[in-house]
């Protein structure tokens, strides 16, 4: 048996939505992390909890890209596909690269099941899979045999087939079995029967690889040289939750989250609800509107108020966001974007809420908008949102998306003690003549003083109705309204003074084409740029985390390149924004399939762009 060194592998596990593919993928990822590989993941599942068994609609998959070098994306074309039934084979086979390894559980390949997903002949025998290295294995049969010694029902026995697959892959990629065995002990410690059955199935898969002669080569991917530090695996939603907690802790405030369940944002609510011993209060409200209302109430009470949602929830919250900006009250509003409009595809990713976030309110309603670029970056963006919200007394919108929310990557654990503190600077003394308190007397940043109820002598009234600057009293004075509209805009524009200049990645310094992105396209854009450069072309990239206001040096950057391309998972919202702001000829590269932009597809198109050809 030979072991071949690989620098990178993309594996996709695909099965029925009840087959445990997400768990299998998570576990294989944890092993990649333990070995020290760099990795990126893409879970992909239907919204239905248990879609009809054996149908294309019910296919759930988990893709993992792991490598001995720095990587940016979960990859597009898998090198290895594990298909647990005919439907998952049918749904995924087109993506498997030529000569890729295909492991298929043959158990469900009955005439009826094949016909159900539209196979006229059995693909395992009709030669249609000849371009791939096919391993047809009765994984379910192996599972049933392995757990026969335990008194499980036939259904439960068959359910451990995902562990057989995981064991086989563990062997194929030369990994130790101990971490997964320890994981099973932890996970099923309370039900020894289930634990032992899963262990037996996992080891059966591993031993099958060892003893069968079906596989002639084993593979190994060595650890990646990441920058020094302590690393952990993290998803975007988890990083967001931890980032909100860190922001609140650095500000010395309790954290209050108001939320209403919505895919793919609910995990932030779940995560924060587990951490009440960190001074976190969570509230599952009756609707999206009450969720932000309660967060605003807690913010008024002196907590860090936050709410998390997805696109449809953002639409419902927009009136409250306008109230928060009118009050000039700190609030963090997180939109984990999904494919829309309306219900759209709740479990699929998209970036089409950009313009809703920047402009989607009534009246002149400027709000700072930040976008996370990777799962780990969700942490930093949440902390930055806290800083801006408290410093400038404003609601701040954080954009994540379904890909970042559920995708995982290695993350260098930050040193919280070394992070700068955030000063909420609550008012404690009157600030006006005659010992009065003026709730809208502004500082040099145009931020107003915040008096938290309970502070004696600073009693004041705030409201959504137009107010006189300084006193905050109701005012319908025309000149005052114009002054206030301009003040609120100037305050948000001024946040640009506190954000760093953009740094362009242009290794040759001679690129003519600039690729500009925001949010989760950071991974695909970076991966594509590397590939294009390896092919001898020159390309520059720059990425926006602050979408509103934009960094001060962006205009100059846009003007210094011949062509500017903005890849987005929408129909060109950033391009529209940049064209409007800078009168710059920004071209859209648009993909809206509910999936991250494919680096190999973008590579081909970017080569055409650089070479002066047209692109789609």
């Amino acid at each position: 048996m030979t072991t071949t060194q690989l620098d990178r592998v993309v594996i996709r596990f695909a099965g029925d939505s009840g087959d445990g593919m997400q768990l299998t993928g998570d576990r294989f990822t944890a092993d990649a992390a333990a070995i020290g590989n760099d990795f990126a993941t893409l879970p992909n599942f239907p919204a239905e909890i248990r879609a009809p068994q054996g149908t294309i609609a019910g296919v759930s998959s988990f893709q993992l890209h792991f490598a001995d070098d720095d990587i940016r994306t979960p990859g597009d074309r898998p090198d290895v596909l594990v298909a647990m039934n005919p439907a998952s084979l049918k749904a995924n086979i087109a993506d498997l690269r030529r000569d890729g390894i295909l492991i298929v559980d043959t158990h469900d390949f009955t005439k009826r099941n094949l016909a159900r997903v539209g196979y006229a002949t059995d693909p395992l025998t009709d030669g249609s899979l000849d371009d791939h290295e096919l391993h047809a294995v009765d994984l379910t049969g192996l599972a049933t045999a392995a757990v026969a010694q335990f008194e499980l029902g036939r259904k439960d026995a068959a359910r451990s087939k995902n562990m057989v697959a995981l064991g086989l892959l563990t062997w194929l990629f030369s990994r130790p079995t101990e971490p997964t065995l320890a994981f099973l002990d932890r996970k099923f410690g309370r039900s020894p029967l289930i634990r032992d059955a899963n262990r037996a199935a996992y080891l059966a898969g591993y031993h099958y690889g060892e003893t069968t002669e079906d596989f002639t080569v084993r593979y190994e991917v060595r650890r990646a040289p990441l920058p020094a530090g302590t690393y952990r695996q993290i998803t975007g939603n988890k990083a967001l939750a931890l980032g909100l907690m860190a922001g609140a802790a650095k500000a010395g405030l309790p954290l209050y989250l108001g939320a209403y369940p919505i895919t793919p944002a609910s995990d932030v609510l779940h995560e924060l609800s587990r951490h009440k011993d960190h001074g976190v209060m969570t509230f599952q409200a009756e609707d999206e509107i009450a969720a932000i209302g309660a967060a605003l109430g807690a913010s008024y009470g002196g907590h860090l108020g936050a709410t998390v949602t997805s696109g449809p929830g953002m639409a419902l919250k927009s009136e409250f966001i306008s109230l928060a900006l009118m009050l000039e009250q700190p609030l963090v509003v997180v939109d984990v974007q999904r494919a829309g409009p309306s219900t759209g595809m709740p479990t699929k990713t998209e970036q089409a809420d950009l313009l809703q976030s920047v402009f989607g309110r009534h009246g002149e309603a400027p709000v700072p908008v930040l976008a996370a670029q990777s799962p780990g970056d969700c942490f930093d963006v949440a902390v930055e949102a806290t800083r801006i919200a408290l410093t400038y007394r404003t609601p701040v919108i954080v954009l994540s998306d379904g890909y970042l929310a559920n995708g995982a990557e290695p993350w260098r654990v930050p040193d919280l003690a070394a992070m700068p503190p955030i000063d909420p600077a609550f008012a404690t003394e009157p600030n006006g003549p005659d010992g009065k308190f003026l709730p809208y007397l502004r500082d040099e940043k145009l931020a107003r003083p915040l008096a938290v109820p309970g502070t004696p002598g600073l009693e004041n009234r705030i409201g959504g109705i137009e107010k006189a600057d300084g006193t905050g009293n109701i005012s319908y004075d025309p000149a005052n309204h114009e002054a206030m509209v301009r003040l609120r805009q100037a305050k948000v524009d001024g946040i640009a003074d506190s954000i760093p200049d953009l740094v362009v990645d242009d290794p040759s310094g001679e690129a003519d084409v600039l690729v500009i992105g925001w949010g989760s396209t950071w991974g695909p854009i970076g991966a594509t740029a590397r590939r294009v450069r390896r092919r001898g072309r020159k390309v520059a990239t720059v990425h926006l985390r602050h979408v509103n206001p934009l960094p001060r040096n962006l205009g100059a950057i846009l003007r210094s390149y011949g062509r500017v391309i903005a890849p987005e998972m929408n129909l060109g919202q950033l391009a529209l924004l940049l064209r409007a702001r800078f009168l710059a000829d920004v071209e859209t590269y648009s993909r809206v399939r509910g999936l991250p932009i494919s680096p190999s597809e973008f590579e081909a198109d970017l080569l055409d762009i650089i070479d002066g050809k047209d692109f789609r």
Binding site: A33, R232, I289, L416
Partner: protein, 353 residues
């Protein structure tokens, strides 16, 4: 924020709210803003009663917060020198919920109207009542939209002719008290703007109740719905069914009584001299079972107000939402908070590069 010394507080709904160190008077609660309701508006009477009540409660001005929605009554906070927020239409209960959860040292009031609370904000109202968050809701019911100049409201009678219903409304009105009781609210009362003493008594009891309190205040709109409550306001009005704890429910100078049918349990109104062997209902605010309170509320003639029970329908103790929420939360000491969080952020499965 929190004070260093634990100040004296009262019990019940105001437990945890610090008392003023020196006595306050009505003027302390009057803001410098000119009141801009229409002359003759019932809101003036409620405002005056409220400003007089505050010194009696003894709580600190700075620990009193009034959250309102949108509508004529929602201008209320601007006229009180406390903390206050004039928010958006129908949503005040949600803001008050977050505020009450985060701050047990505040007396949180919600001022709302029939359109605000029962139409656009109906969902927030029922959920605030269901959860039993410690807030006091004053619902000014004038049975009309005033600020938008006279459209019918969810408490307007069927057939109401307004600008938006020139041929008469085809809706049926809500009975706010029955709605609140249906949500199993723990304190529900109805009072009238013109009866200062009753209004003050009911508001006092409401704020002293721990949990969500709903007070429906019949309030006259002299511009768009003048006189709709006049039948109830005449001295000794036979339309008012006064509810007094522990007393038989009789009205119209004792000439009419509310009796319970022995078989169906249904309540009905009969001339007192025809009660015979039937049982006259004795009012019990503290009845754990909501059924009798609902039955009494159902005696309301929501159409023509030919009869309406006035008083405290229900006042029962139940677990309080924000108390329970706070009991689950622990804030680490300031010096250990970052270290505690660092271990969570680091997690259990790490590797070094």
């Amino acid at each position: 924020m929190t004070t260093t010394l634990t100040p004296p507080t009262t019990g019940g709904g105001l437990a945890g709210v610090p008392l003023a160190l020196s006595p306050t008077n009505r003027k302390d609660f009057v803001s410098d803003q000119e009141v801009r309701w229409c002359p003759g508006c019932g809101d003036y009477a409620v405002l005056a009663a409220f400003q007089s009540l505050m010194p009696q409660l003894g709580v600190r001005r700075e620990n009193t917060v009034i959250i309102s929605g949108i509508g004529c009554s929602s201008r209320f906070p601007y006229y009180l020198d406390t903390y206050g927020m004039h928010s958006i239409h129908g949503r005040a209960p949600s803001i008050a919920t977050g505020l009450a959860m985060s701050r047990p040292d505040l007396a949180v009031w919600v001022v709302t109207g029939d359109g605000d609370a029962l139409s656009i904000g109906g969902n927030h109202l029922i959920h605030a009542l269901r959860r039993n968050t410690n807030i006091t809701i004053l619902l000014f019911n004038n049975r009309i939209y005033g600020l938008t100049k006279g459209q019918y409201s969810p408490t307007s009678e069927s057939g109401k002719v307004t600008k938006s219903t020139p041929a008469g409304s085809v809706d049926r009105p809500f009975n706010p008290v029955a709605l609140a009781l249906g949500a199993e609210a723990t304190f529900v009362a109805r009072t009238v703007d013109s009866d200062r003493a009753h209004l003050t008594e009911v508001m006092t009891r409401a704020v002293q109740h721990r949990g969500a309190s709903l007070v429906e205040i019949y309030q006259n709109c002299p511009i768009f719905n003048d006189g709709v409550f006049d039948g109830l306001k005449a001295p000794g009005s036979p339309s008012v069914i006064p509810l007094r704890r522990g007393e038989p429910v009789t009205f119209a100078g004792g000439t009419r009584s509310v009796v319970r049918d022995a078989v169906t349990g249904r309540l009905s109104v009969v001339p007192t001299d025809e009660v015979g062997g039937r049982t006259v209902v004795v009012h019990d605010e503290h009845d754990d079972d909501v059924a009798q309170a609902v039955a009494l509320a159902s005696l309301t003639d929501s159409q023509g107000l030919s009869q309406s029970p006035i008083g405290i329908f229900r006042d029962v103790d139940r677990p309080v939402h924000d108390d329970a929420a706070r009991a689950q939360v622990r804030m680490p000491q300031a010096d250990e908070r970052i270290a505690h969080l660092q271990s969570l952020v680091t997690g259990h499965d790490t590797w070094d590069a």
